[in-house]
């Protein structure tokens, strides 16, 4: 794990789970697989805190455990899974676009809690939806269950590996840790539950308002005295499926930008047809015949068969090679080249970065070297039609930032520098890795800056929160306009200005994080796809 990744993981864990979990998590990421007592000793935290932290991390699928010989259990952190925490808003928003509010809340609950049983999810989501509905209306459990089943059918949620039910006549001491198993077939099997009920509205006196003094809360009312019907069957969000969806989205929008809306719809149809049949890391989808595609086009689109064929031919002939023709039966068999598509997207990202950082002439040189694969210094000047001095300057700038690399080709076996060709080339994989590393650094910087800004203005933020709470409580008890006005004036105009600026900055930093994460996703997908093929 690179330093940048570790730093980013540390910031994410700290924001989401607190410092203790962060310390344990980062230690595990740095040092790899470790048993419990070594962790406690090396990090200097008490054994009991380490246990609690590990429980939280295991619950959220960030740490896995394995039993080694002699009964020692070792814990290992999943760094890539920690980095996916950046993407939670995107997952939830995708669920909203596909399955509306119910789906959105289901995915949100699953992400916030790591793993949950279906009955628990349904109950919580129904309660939350009821809160937002008008008075008197409640959300039925059945509707939430239906959405859950649909999510499971399209593989967006999956079952967690479970403890196999062993017979009780097992001789000898039980193992130090259960080995969890999951069958491919069972992963999306929804248990037969008859969840009957409606969401409950929380009483308004129960609502927390931070800053309001409260009497000591009663302990958690154990209203789950009835045995849970699906006890032990936990569900988690299937992040790979979301990634597949993002990748498809990326390809479709790329086709739409390059060609037109209709061709992007055709590509979207093809991708939808291969969703379940093609594994997510395949280099290309299963071949689809033109007739099938014609039948599966969305209902609104009434283009004739010939037009469809023309579009498909156009797509297959495109130099970017998103779509390829693999045969002639059934009116033409077409596949989508997923790996090539990801490569094109990654290359486009690199080109865009070079353009924005160094200027359009540099971008011209970059595209030239990309296209011609290997070029000498002289050839670069000639082909790009840029004066020698500037071309040299730009090439060296890009070389120093590792977008371009130098390839030596010796003429003689002794590699004498005077008799060696030096060629400029772009190695897309290593440039993508370099850019990914920079993205991790950028996000870490953005998070740090946001935390700094918030800390600087902590006093002011707290004051404004208190004032809001006072106003809210006064409004509830029915106060006059004049009194409210007076309270509002507790925050002076320059302070208001400062708050505005702070809010704007924090929003900008947050929005930047989300956008950088999109680039990270593209580059990660490309690198993963390339590594799988080797």
């Amino acid at each position: 794990m690179t330093q940048a990744e570790i730093k980013l993981c540390s910031l994410l864990l700290q924001e989401h789970f607190g410092e203790i979990v962060e310390k344990i998590g980062v230690h595990l990421i740095r040092t790899g697989s470790q048993p419990l007592r070594v962790i406690a000793h090396d990090t200097g935290t008490s054994l009991d805190q380490v246990k609690k932290a590990l429980c939280v991390l295991i619950q959220h699928n960030l740490v896995i455990y394995q039993v080694h010989k002699r009964g020692v259990v070792e814990y290992e952190a999943q760094c890539s899974r920690v980095l996916h925490m950046l993407r939670y808003p995107r997952y939830i928003y995708t669920a909203k676009t596909l399955y509306s509010d119910t789906g959105e809340l289901i995915v949100e609950e699953l992400l916030l809690n790591g793993k949950m049983t279906m009955s628990a999810v349904v109950k919580k989501v129904a309660d939350r939806l009821t809160e937002t509905m008008e008075d008197g209306k409640t959300m039925d459990y059945a509707e939430v269950s239906n959405t859950f089943v649909r999510l499971a059918d399209t593989h967006f949620v999956q079952r967690c590996p479970f403890v196999p039910a062993t017979e009780n006549s097992d001789p000898g001491p039980p193992p130090p840790a259960p080995t969890l198993v999951i069958n491919e077939k069972d992963m999306y099997l929804v248990p037969k539950l008859s969840l009957i009920g409606k969401g409950k509205r929380r009483r308004s006196s129960d609502e927390d308002a931070t800053g309001e003094p409260k009497a000591k809360r009663p302990k958690h009312i154990a209203d789950n005295k009835e045995p849970i019907p699906d006890d032990g069957i936990y569900w988690q969000a299937n992040l790979d499926r979301f990634h597949q969806h993002f990748r498809d989205q990326g390809i479709v929008s790329a086709v739409a930008n390059r060609m037109d809306q209709t061709s992007s719809e055709i590509v979207r149809t093809m991708l939808r047809m291969s969703e379940i049949t093609t594994p997510s890391n395949a280099p290309f989808t299963q071949p689809l015949s033109s007739n099938e595609i014609f039948r599966s086009l969305p209902v609104g689109y009434n283009i004739s068969k010939q037009v469809l064929d023309q579009y498909l031919t156009l797509l297959a002939d495109d130099p970017l090679e998103f779509v390829g023709k693999s045969g002639d039966s059934g009116g033409g068999m077409y596949v989508i080249n997923l790996h090539k598509a990801l490569g094109s997207l990654a290359t486009a990202t690199l080109e865009s970065v070079v353009q924005e950082r160094f200027g359009s002439r540099c971008a011209r040189i970059f595209r030239l070297v990309l296209q011609k694969k290997h070029l000498e210094q002289k050839q670069v000047e000639d082909f790009a039609m840029i004066p020698a001095k500037e071309a040299k300057d730009m090439l060296y700038k890009m070389l120093s930032e590792n977008f371009i690399s130098l390839q030596e080709i010796p003429k003689t076996p002794d590699h004498a520098p005077s008799r060696t060709f030096y060629l400029y080339t772009v190695n897309i994989l290593s440039a993508a890795r370099m850019l990914l590393h920079r993205c991790y650094k950028s996000i870490a910087n953005l998070i740090e800056r946001r935390q700094f800004e918030t800390k600087e203005n902590k006093r002011l933020l707290e004051k404004s929160q208190r004032v809001e709470a006072i106003i809210a409580s006064m409004q509830a008890t029915g106060a006059e306009e004049a009194q409210l006005q007076e309270i509002e004036e507790m925050i002076t105009a320059p302070e208001r200005q400062q708050l505005e600026t702070l809010k704007r900055n924090v929003n900008k930093l947050d929005a930047s994080e989300i956008q950088v994460d999109e680039t990270i996703f593209l580059l990660e997908s490309y690198i993963e796809s390339t590594m799988k093929r080797q």
Partner: protein, 223 residues
């Protein structure tokens, strides 16, 4: 070696033309310090994307951040003791739901070990009732007391041996613990509070009576 054109004269060992500099030209300066921390950029960055989706994701992100802080998974660092204890602090504590993990899915060593005899009493009682052995009553009571004492010793020594070989004892302990947890609903938080209380640990040494032992000197001061 061949190629040494002249002693003492600087000569490039490779064709300088190939790398793009002409002979006699001034080479760029050697950089003697690390690059600046905030380098100037020639071009301003492109403005961020805006739109409905982006706004929604932004709001989601900020909400999620706040929600995570209120979840039971967020472990607060224990604050250092302030010199003056503020009265209002007691009433401003944010209520957090308790969370008990599913022990069946976790390794045995994750379960909090019961150090305190008080907790031990509860668990032992539950354990014994849980086992449902059919012993007759008077002998039962005596046997129970013996078992409790033995269990208390066993657990104490377990805790002492924690630093050494863990797994064998742990598995036995864990075995008992599982039954206990099945039999009663012990709050996770309560465990932690009792474990941190060193005073009670040392108070209940082997062979001490429960709570009755105090300073012998006290007997003298009763007027």
């Amino acid at each position: 070696m061949a190629g040494n054109k002249g002693r003492g004269r600087a000569a490039y060992t490779f064709n300088i033309e190939a790398v793009g500099f002409s002979r006699g030209e001034k080479l760029p300066d050697v950089v003697l310090k690390p690059p600046p921390l905030f380098p100037d950029t020639d071009y301003k960055p492109v403005p961020l994307r805006t739109g409905e989706g982006e706004d929604y994701m932004l709001a989601l992100k900020q909400e999620l951040r706040e929600t995570m802080k209120r979840m039971p998974y967020f472990m607060e660092t224990p604050e250092e003791k302030q010199d003056i204890e503020r009265y209002s602090k007691r009433y401003m504590k944010v209520y957090k739901e308790e969370w008990v993990p599913d022990w069946r899915r976790l390794p045995r060593e994750m379960m909090p070990t019961k150090k305190c005899k008080k907790a031990g009493h509860k668990s032992k009682k539950a354990k014994v009732t849980g086992q449902g052995t059919s012993l007759t009553n008077p002998a039962d009571v005596l046997k129970k007391i013996e078992e409790l004492e033995k269990r208390g010793d066993g657990e104490k020594s377990d805790e002492e041996n924690e630093e050494k070989e863990g797994s064998k004892e742990k598995s036995k302990e864990g075995d008992d613990d599982e039954e206990d947890d099945a039999a009663e609903q012990e709050e996770y938080d309560e465990e932690e509070q009792e474990e941190e209380n060193d005073y009670i640990n040392s108070y209940f040494e082997d062979g001490d009576d429960f709570g009755a032992d105090s300073d012998d000197n006290m007997d003298e001061a009763t007027y």
